[in-house]
Symmetry: none
């Protein structure tokens, strides 16, 4: 209807950015107030558009939620895998570095919010869980698990239950992200839980020490169930 020459550039740029802007706005609000308690008009307002525009890009609030999760994770999913490519030196050190760099990044990025969102909404939208499990949990678990196994194989680590160790390593990091978007976001701050770099380092130090080859079980009980 108008001249196609120069106009499309600016308008096009905005148009392309819209979905992302809406997703970012939705992520922030869904994580803050929960999906059910967030009004779609709020999302639109935060993205600087009107209610109607939201429905131009997403057919419903629920689809917006799914888009939020898919889109936000895409960015950070691969990151960890890349890290692994640079394997070199002793496994412990690699593991410590991987966790530190990766998790601090995740903690600071919008991805950290996804953990809370998934936790909060899986039971209402199980598809979310499926996606999250296959795209995030499993690859991540395998990644860390592979490293731990390598350490055992090389004799750097004592023989332990790999899956269990992976959880001992990862769960606190996930918890940190959840905390950031729940208690911490309300001002209930505990120093250690809001300085992820420091905590990850100390946590990995403790874990790696616990993995050190040559040491038996620490307690008087056997490590196995």
């Amino acid at each position: 209807m108008s001249a196609p020459s120069s106009a499309p550039t600016l308008r096009q740029r905005r148009k392309d950015a819209r979905p992302t802007e809406l997703i970012d706005a939705a992520l922030a609000l869904f994580v803050e107030k929960g999906f059910a308690a967030t009004r779609s008009e709020e999302v639109a307002a935060r993205a600087g558009v009107s209610k109607g525009t939201l429905y131009l890009y997403f057919p419903s609030k629920e689809e917006l939620l799914k888009a939020v999760i898919r889109h936000t994770l895409m960015a950070d999913i691969a990151r960890g895998a890349e890290r692994l490519a640079q394997e070199s030196g002793p496994t412990g050190q690699l593991l410590a570095e991987l966790m530190t760099e990766w998790w601090v990044t995740v903690y600071e990025s919008p991805s950290s919010a996804i953990f809370k969102l998934v936790m909060t909404e899986v039971r209402n939208f199980p598809e979310i869980g499926e996606f999250y499990l296959h795209e995030v949990v499993e690859p991540g678990h395998v990644l860390i698990g592979t490293l731990v196994q390598r350490g055992i194989d090389r004799g750097e680590f004592r023989p332990v239950d790999v899956d269990s160790v992976v959880h001992s390593i990862v769960l606190p990091m996930v918890m940190l992200c959840l905390h950031k978007h729940s208690m911490a976001a309300c001002g209930f701050i505990e120093p250690h839980l809001t300085q992820p770099a420091q905590f990850v380092r100390q946590h990995m130090d403790l874990i790696l020490n616990g993995l050190r080859a040559g040491a038996g079980g620490a307690s008087s009980e056997a490590p196995a169930a």
Copy 2:
């Protein structure tokens, strides 16, 4: 219709039981669907009463939420403290036993659901966070922290940052509870995350090994921040 002998108390008995029945129903639903997405009528129905009856005992849905948290935690709060009274033997063993018994109990009890509920709702109802922080987080942290410090003082553990270790110990346990009521409740089960007894034992074994006196930091970096 019924024997007149026990009749006089029947009504009263029901009345006394109502708040608890309603709270239990509410806990289950709030944790499953979230506070905002749970209709008050559903809560009433699950408790076996009508909509109106709910409002006979709680002035609003929001007050019901607060009652749920207060009431449910009360039961389990003291439990941990009691455990500590039985201190004896080496600190590591005590710590492992404490964590195992206490957390398996918490994990199986309704209290485990509270973690999710608090996480999910703090940002909408900050009073909840205050209560949770003072009544649960802080006492628990102090309890474990005291034990770790004792271990260090007695030379059983190497010197480490106590707060950080407490988090390394506790966060995975909390995460287990969250997982139970989110992913696991949807059927996305990871074996280790749904057998808390086994995991706690292996986790504590790893941690205690990492705390063993005589060992330096595992990684090339210094243990202190």
Copy 3:
């Protein structure tokens, strides 16, 4: 079920008083908040009984309303008529005395509240209007009208439209009652409107002066329409 000898006295007295107590409580609340905005439990509470007891005496809230109006008016209806019996002396003086004594009494009695109640609720419960019209408005109008006519017949008053004069006489008095239970009850007091005795005297003085025989129409216009 119990001995009929002495017990019935006290209990019976209370029982007989109940309906009246409930009616008084209802009148006060219906006039204050309106019928629709008054909860039946409030009425019961104000009468010192429980919700259920109210329904022992009145089959529904609406029947209670009608009972309130019937019962409350009964007392004061006859009063005016009695006054008239004592006719003696000049009509003007009789009229002034009648209005002063009668209306000050009505203004102070619960009957004054009835005016507001009827006004407020007729449109929802027209039966009320019928009753009020036949039992209160018409007798009262006839009573005053008869006196005015007598004054004219005797040559004490100039010839005027009797019905119109009756309204000029009575409407301000009714208005005083309405004011008492609306604006004045909220603290918006205008001195003249809350000292009925004084106002009635001055009002009647003005009216009677206006009725004085020997005077033509006051304005330049003819008195007739």
Copy 4:
């Protein structure tokens, strides 16, 4: 479907008209059934819109009530004052004309309904009373009082209590309005109370005659309190 010429304003025109349409609908219903007994959906329906639309323009039923009173009075408030500007001729005539023209207008206009609404709802919403007192009662009282005083000062009227006379003049007019929206609206019609023009004229004739200079108090009692 419609001509595209005037189209651009159609939507806007409707939007601008909505608040007034809603207020008119609300006035009619609140006066008919009372505020508490009127459902907000009824108001919307009478204005030809849906429930939701009402809340687009007024945040709550209570705010709608206040808007009704403010908005409806605005129109007629100034009217009386304007009338006074045309002062000329003898005070009595001016007063009679003022009352006749002004009150017949008020009686026929929606403002007449406001008297009932205020009376009915002040005790539940005292702010209404404040507004009504300052914007209607006091200005009106002063307006009439000034005229009466002028008549006394000029020797046209005998000395009387001005405030009392103002009430003798005004209260019946207000009562007429109340009657119109209560008993009369139910079909309980008394001829004089529904022909305001005629009544006002006769009423003012009576009053002005009663104010005539040169006449003493009519009754045997002194005119002063």
